[in-house]
């Protein structure tokens, strides 16, 4: 993945999570992956188009998703969740939108023109994602509620 794209995503993930979550947030070691990879359980996906093609996946376990969504809802003085209902899914989708949106804004300021697709959310057990021909950058963010992986796969349009 183009070097210039990396930092905007790392910074956006950190900034947004720090804004909406309480407690300490740590960034794990970045790495690359190309084979099909397991999805933790709840994954919000946003497509990218424009100068590039690709997608961003915000991935976490169901348990982490419930806790993260609850914290975000409580921040807006709403009831915490007991299970991952529609409200919870909408909240996680919004989190993915916020992270990707901020990253794309930063990239726009650097002169890269990206468009976003509306986010979609997948939940389930034993899911895998495979992107042929493009490797993914994994940005692990470690929260007190668990781990969120920002999985970015972008390639230049040749």
């Amino acid at each position: 993945m183009r070097v210039e794209y990396i930092n905007p995503f790392v910074e956006a993930a950190y900034n947004i999570l720090r804004e909406v979550m309480h407690g300490e947030i740590k960034r794990g070691e970045l790495y690359l992956k190309s084979t099909s990879m397991p999805v933790l359980g709840v994954a919000a996906i946003i497509g990218l188009a424009g100068d590039v093609q690709g997608r961003v996946l915000v991935d976490m376990t169901k348990d982490t998703a419930i806790k993260v969504a609850s914290t975000m809802l409580e921040g807006m003085e709403m009831e915490p969740l007991t299970h991952l209902n529609d409200m919870g899914k909408a909240t996680i989708t919004e989190l993915a939108n916020m992270i990707t949106g901020q990253a794309v804004t930063k990239l726009h300021n650097l002169g890269f023109k990206f468009d976003l697709t509306p986010p979609a959310i997948f939940t389930g057990d034993n899911m895998e994602i495979a992107d042929t021909g493009v490797e993914a950058l994994i940005v692990p963010m470690i929260l007190e509620h668990g781990k969120i992986e920002i999985n970015v796969a972008i390639r230049e349009r040749n």
Binding site: V3, L32, T132, G133, V134, R155
Partner: protein, 469 residues
């Protein structure tokens, strides 16, 4: 120090000479080779035929309900093997270690089982005359005497030879038979050279010694190769074997002259060994000499859009040097360089590389501008290079290339990956294209690649394939 320990130290300093001492050493025939290692400050050895390889054990997984000396299981390239901590097994005080730290170990092959042992450090390969191995005496080592097959002195050091068969081996009939046989032939069976080498005894001692000396060097080289892989992830293969063999000769002379061990004990040794491997002007701008060597192999004309693939770009010096050179040689052409590296820190700094004026050879001055933080490259050069954080063993989405510059990249990949990446180079290279590999990676398959005549850098062209071949 306890009196027992003092006694042991005394014994080590004054090794016992068997019958004949020095003179005997000169006449001795080396027919027993052993890998030596250190444990609790004492020297131990195992038969080299029992040693499969030397390994840095990272990520040994503990297993519950096993004896304390079983450190756990380990994934040796897909094979799960048990790891035994010899210190604990032999009742020596365990060393304080953090769990993530690699442990030095030997992988032993015993009949059908493979087992790993953790030692303090692996020392070297020592050849001795098997007839000089003395029976064990109770004062040697902390180890139960039944596990010791003998004691031998070499170069004023006393080695305790362990009987790994008896320590780890299952009491299978085969092992029992083998032991009986070895006892009958007084170690001759055990002492043979490794399987692929000759088992016949040479007629004269002189000839045998020559063979042994050669074998010793071959073995040393084999161990050095394994150490390079385990210490610094450098993979010996057909690509770099010629260099390794000639480097080993120099290295042995250097180290022997300096009275240091030939074997590589740590990553620093490995880096020292590899220091002359790296191609000229690695990690800095190319001197006019290097640029000249590149210039020589470039064709008169290239396409209007020149495509270049530069994996292993590091901090970007190579990609920028290449861009400046190509811009000078083909001023009319558009230049596109795909530069990548899997070292995130290095490659991240590449797009905004800043340097001091004196780091740039005068030939590039026309492409350099002064920025806020120092000197940097002009927009026309920067815009021609696309830096990517990328692992070359993953799918490579690049168009067909005029030039592929991959210096000292392939040697950092396991041999099967080297081959698949070279296949990919072959597919992605245009008919007139040129591949440039590291100065010492010249062992490309001759049926597919031919070196450009008179090239002073390792520049290759595709060999034309017969139709249908």
């Amino acid at each position: 120090m306890s009196s027992k320990a003092q006694l042991r130290k005394h014994n080590r300093l004054k090794p016992y000479h068997g019958n004949g001492g020095k003179q005997h050493e000169e006449d001795e025939t080396i027919d027993y080779k052993m890998v030596t290692f250190s444990l609790g400050g004492k020297d131990y050895a195992v038969d080299i035929l029992d040693v499969k390889e030397i390994a840095n054990l990272i990520g040994v997984t503990p297993v519950p309900n096993t004896p304390a000396y079983v450190a756990g299981v380990y994934n040796l390239r897909g094979e799960i093997i048990s790891i035994v901590d010899l210190r604990i097994m032999f009742g020596l005080p365990a060393e304080e270690r953090s769990s993530g730290e690699p442990r030095r170990g030997l992988i032993l092959r015993l009949n059908d089982t493979i087992i790993g042992i953790i030692v303090d450090y692996v020392d070297q390969v020592v050849g001795v005359d098997s007839s000089r191995i003395q029976p064990p005496h109770p004062i040697f080592g902390d180890i139960n005497i039944k596990y010791i097959s003998g004691v031998v002195e070499k170069n004023e050091r006393l080695y305790i030879v362990l009987d790994v068969e008896r320590i780890f081996g299952r009491e299978s009939q085969e092992a029992e038979a083998r032991r009986r046989r070895s006892a009958e032939t007084e170690g001759a069976e055990l002492a043979g050279a490794p399987a692929e080498e000759t088992h016949e005894a040479p007629e004269s001692i002189v000839a045998q010694r020559a063979v042994e000396a050669r074998n010793q060097h071959e073995l040393d080289l084999i161990f050095i190769k394994e150490e390079l892989t385990s210490l610094v992830q450098f993979y010996p293969s057909a690509l770099n074997n010629d260099w390794l063999a000639s480097r080993y000769e120099d290295w042995r002379k250097e180290r022997t002259a300096a009275e240091r061990e030939v074997q590589l004990a740590c990553a620093d040794d490995a880096h020292e060994f590899l220091a002359p491997f790296y191609s000229r002007d690695t990690g800095r701008f190319w001197s006019s000499g290097s640029a000249g060597m590149f210039r020589e192999i470039l064709p008169e004309r290239l396409r209007n859009t020149i495509t270049v693939w530069n994996p292993g770009a590091g901090k970007g010096f190579e990609s920028y040097s290449l861009a400046c050179l190509l811009k000078k040689v083909y001023p009319e052409s558009t230049l596109k360089i795909w530069a990548s590296d899997n070292d995130l820190l290095s490659i991240s700094s590449a797009p905004n590389l800043v340097f001091r004026e004196e780091e740039v050879p005068s030939t590039y001055h026309e492409f350099v501008v002064e920025g806020k933080n120092g000197y940097t490259l002009a927009g026309m050069i920067k815009d021609s290079v696309l830096f990517e954080y990328h692992d070359i063993t993953h799918p490579n989405v690049v168009p067909e290339m005029d030039l592929i510059v991959a210096r000292d990249v392939l040697s950092c990949l396991p041999p099967e990956r080297q081959a698949s990446v070279l296949d990919e180079f072959y597919d992605k290279l245009l008919e007139h294209g040129i591949v440039i590999v590291g100065d010492h990676e010249t062992g490309l398959a001759p049926d597919r690649w031919e070196r450009i005549d008179g090239s002073r850098i390792a520049a290759f062209r595709k060999r034309k394939q017969e139709k249908g071949a």
